[in-house]
Subunit: 198 residues, 2 copies
DNA sequence: ACCTGAACACCGTTCAAGT
DNA sequence: ACCTGAACACCGTTCAAGT
């Protein structure tokens, strides 16, 4: 009857599941995420997803992984055309990170949730590595230019990392007096710069 | 038959549910938390919990609230007997916060999750306020002693907040090169002190 | 007041069977 | 290869009824 009886998803059910899952996550929260409903939305049987994700957790892990990858891309792009000056670079990264966090609050929650089972997620680990490397490299370069205090990279970059992430997380979970949601960004950037300057 | 047929929980089913829920959260993670299993564990019918929590979410909110309250207590206690010197005070708070985060990883996740529905959780909001007030007061006092740079409290305390929370969250979700899990603490404390000194 | 039992509409996961 | 249908053992929530 319907012209799309034979695979609406062009054999790309896996990708379709991920896309739809992220929409649901964004619109209705993580609790509303069900494999059966996803399957219903995509017009396949409830057992079909299991061909592509052995588990609900596997779907969530894949979602988290794609989140880290896109975040790395956003952070990377934030440095385009920014002069090699640590203050401007830090400002750009912080704004990009907080922006990503705001636009993908529920996804970020999932990305940093304590869940993802130890094994099976080497890909996830690699994805997280990629964006932390980005910050590390940024700090390392500035250090080479003498704009950042000396010391092992883990010592100089770690607190930047922590402050960046902490501010975004607090802002996203509504823990901040809302009157400074925007102003707070400048304050945090200035704080980071004070903390890393030579 | 059994001597405990009449209310094993001495009419304190609500408290018993919270206690057991937190055990399950700690031992088996949030996904394993089910009202029905909780009821089974406590020897009541599966419908009994609804007398005390209108919702599963209500149970989770109550759990989060008790988390914030205990965290405020731990942070408060961390200042006992600490000399009025901002460096020592910050060190004590940071260690206390990270310690609490480590000991209650899953609970912290829940506390900061994007979930808790806007209404119904005034109590929750109040509980979060209490611990942020603690940090605010600490910074304000040090500021009065001239140990912290001038400026509105939200500007001086906010980044402390962010760094503190960010480090704990990263450490707990295993995002840090584990070799500096302990050493990182010192680095972060030093960074915070650099950021707030006059 | 507090709890039970049954009922309803959902889940995730597995597995034979179809194409 | 990829998907279906039925089956199994679970869920959360509601509501009459019991004590």
């Amino acid at each position: 009857m319907h012209p799309r009886t034979r695979s609406y998803h062009h054999g790309d059910l896996r990708a379709a599941l991920l896309t739809r899952a992220e929409e649901t996550l964004r619109e209705k929260g993580p609790a509303a995420l069900s494999l059966r409903e996803l399957a219903r939305d995509l017009g396949v049987s409830h057992a079909a997803p299991s061909r592509h994700f052995k588990d609900k957790q596997a779907l969530l892990d894949a979602l988290a992984q794609s989140g880290f990858e896109r975040m790395a891309a956003v952070l990377g792009a934030s440095q385009d055309g920014v002069p090699e000056k640590i203050s401007e670079q830090v400002e750009a990264v912080v704004r990009a990170y907080v922006g990503f966090a705001r636009d993908n609050a529920a996804l970020l929650d999932l990305m940093y949730s304590v869940k993802h089972d130890p094994e099976a997620s080497d890909a996830l680990l690699e994805a997280t590595q990629r964006w932390s490397d980005l910050v590390l490299r940024l700090v390392a370069d500035a250090q080479a230019r003498g704009e950042v205090r000396e010391g092992p990279l883990e010592h100089t970059a770690l607190p930047v990392f922590a402050t960046l992430h902490g501010y975004a997380d607090l802002a996203v979970s509504g823990m901040l007096p809302p009157e400074m949601d925007e102003h707070g960004l400048d304050v945090v950037i200035a704080f980071i710069l004070r903390g890393i300057r030579p």
